[in-house]
Symmetry: C2
Subunit: 414 residues, 2 copies
């Protein structure tokens, strides 16, 4: 695998940005990434864009990516729009890496952009309902919810619309984890508290209000055991990463010290669930492959950004990524292992929960944070001595599985 | 560039297939491609899917590709959904080629699928209206239509809804070509007549009714100079291609004689229009790059499939691909140069006009035809001695330009 480096990252504020168009958001992220890399846009030889909802919300059903970039002057080069549910932006990066590794060029760009605060309010939730097999929604939801069968749900804690089925699915998974491992609602709240506390230090985060475990528990219930701050919000935003080859670094005369090396880039899809073997889930498999590709293990990681679409998602993922033993995600969270001051900070940015979750931009938002951390430029939320970082970005649901999952491993060059 | 081979192709009937789901169509094309390659689905190491309209028409906004493939057993491997307007399927192939060339694996698959005969009838035209910048539709349409300013449009030949703005844009381009080069409506009708006549020999084509030039001219007008058989129809269908590396060929023990070599695979986007230099359009530029990559020229091509979303599109493209001098596309068509018996058969399949245009599948439908021709398996429409073939697949509109364009060059191995 040819060496690939991230040389520039850009990211807008994540949150409600009703006054900004998709083009505005794209321009903001891309311009920052170009400035960060110190190169002109004409150096970019391919530009892949991730977006999920502009068709639904603004009737831009086709070529939304090329259109947004063309308005900035990009032309001639290969451009396309890619979609992979919540893993959309990472998928754009995955493909841009292959563009370089296949020898097509030496500088490429991946962009993710989403504007969910657009169009009629009731329409925007359809994007979530369109994240799993629309032909099977009822059946698969029933199956998912039956996972937690026999586990008593406190009265008055049913789904609050319009959070819809997605939160039900996560909640069912959480109840399954609670049953199997004794995970408590308080431990899940500890994840949300940690992430909301981190994002107080992130000026680009949607929420910047630290929450205690008690505040998280006392918040309005969504679906048991999830309360509102345990669920990611509706967000607008964009993020971009510019990458290059070893030759590209030289040609552009860039300082390798600021470049971040891509040690692994893995995209996988869910496999048939095996309740007797929890290592057979897509995030575990993708992580194993990524560690192998990088020649590194979980013990080498200094910092992580993982897919906490809900707080319990983070508990699953720290286990899948090997940060703790199976079933220990909850206790470790409550013990502060994954807090900013803990042994392995997870979601220092605030994560999807608190930094925000503009679907098609989320994965590259994670990359932005990790690159910033690895460069030692994360300010008040800097993880000291960060050397290697891991990203996990999942998306969609097929049957009982997460549909897709991207895992990236990145590291300092010096 | 590492050698890449197409080892299996599959394609459904293109046309109205209301009773078949996206999953059915996908399965049909993929199963044929697997059977054609003589391999099991478990050999496929990445599967990229092109689709544009399942969100709009069936509310499957996300992961439509992975969902369709998962229902066939595909799991674990990288999967994603890509969109690039009418060039969607070719873009999936472009990316799958890079997956292999980047060293990620030795066997990959690209699939394109579209079901336009779904959902409410009035809704399906929105996919075309979403093929250019929705913020600029009125302005850019006005500009486009002004290209043919001063050219008298016969009365009673205005746009017939719901063919909408897309046909207006093509018609404006046609009128510009008529003004500049003296191209006649009869010459454009000759293209449609040739393609509709070819598809009589293609059992998978939507229309299999040969039409004379007179019949094309006498058909209901859409927007001058286009009549109905000069415009591609609304279609459902799927097509798939399985590709592999040199190592993959050996590992699978496949006969190289039946494999088709990918000599070039180029994706580009439109550049700012220069009316004084017609070589500065995306198809010409992509073709020039493809010929260079292949080390071949237009004179080496035995057969071509080009993007005839309208008959005048084919006139533009034969010029862009260098099959004749600028301005000679019309006269050459009328002289039969690009007919099945002509010096360089174009769209022997019937093209988009007559084989059909299931947007997200179209590009791989072209590949299916060219692979079949190069293998000498095209039956009654076989181009004798076909050795090298070229594909041109465009999509979308940005400003005055075609938004994206894919050009592929393929050849026999022996």
């Amino acid at each position: 695998m040819e060496n690939i480096y991230i040389i520039g990252v850009g990211m807008t504020f994540f949150g409600r940005q009703k006054e900004k168009s998709i083009k505005d958001l794209t321009r903001e992220a891309v311009q920052e990434a170009l400035q960060d890399a110190g190169i002109e846009y004409k150096e970019i030889q391919c530009a892949y864009v991730g977006n999920t909802a502009q068709g639904l919300l603004e009737d831009q059903y086709c070529i939304s990516g090329p259109i947004a970039l063309r308005s900035m002057g990009f032309e001639g080069i290969p451009m396309l729009t890619v979609e992979n549910a919540c893993a959309t932006a990472s998928t754009a990066l995955y493909l841009a890496i292959h563009f370089l590794q296949s020898g097509q060029g030496d500088v490429a760009m991946a962009v993710g952009v989403e504007k969910l605060n657009a169009g009629p309010k009731d329409k925007r939730f359809a994007i979530f309902d369109g994240c799993w097999d629309v032909y099977l929604t009822e059946e698969s939801t029933k199956k998912l919810l039956s996972m937690a069968e026999g586990f008593e749900v406190p009265p008055g804690t049913q789904t609050t619309e319009p959070y819809s089925v997605f939160m039900d699915i996560y909640a069912a998974g959480a109840r399954w984890h609670m049953q199997k491992y004794g995970t408590t609602q308080r431990q899940i709240a500890a994840v949300a508290s940690s992430n909301h506390t981190n994002s107080k230090l992130n000026p680009r985060a949607q929420y910047q209000i630290p929450l205690t475990i008690e505040q998280v528990l006392a918040a309005p219930p969504i679906t048991y055991p999830l309360t509102m701050p345990m669920c990611s919000p509706i967000s607008d935003g964009a993020a971009a990463a510019i990458i290059c080859t070893e030759d590209g670094l030289k040609r552009l005369g860039l300082d390798k010290k600021r470049a971040i090396k891509v040690h692994a880039s893995v995209l996988g899809t869910g496999i048939t669930r095996d309740d007797n073997d929890e290592t057979k889930n897509i995030a575990s498999l993708a992580a194993a492959k990524a560690y192998e590709m990088a020649g590194l293990g979980p013990e080498d990681m200094s910092v992580a950004e993982v897919h906490d679409a809900t707080a319990c998602g983070q508990i699953f993922q720290v286990e899948n990524l090997g940060f703790c033993a199976r079933g220990m995600g909850g206790p470790c969270a409550e013990a502060g292992d994954f807090s900013l001051a803990g042994r392995l900070p997870v979601n220092p940015s605030g994560g999807l929960l608190s930094k925000g979750h503009p679907i098609g931009a989320t994965g590259l938002g994670q990359v932005w944070e990790l690159v910033t951390q690895l460069r030692g430029e994360a300010g008040a939320r800097q993880v000291e001595g960060a050397r290697f970082a891991i990203q996990e970005n999942g998306g969609g649901v097929i049957g009982l599985e997460e549909a897709v999952c991207y895992v990236g491993v990145y590291g300092k060059c010096d």
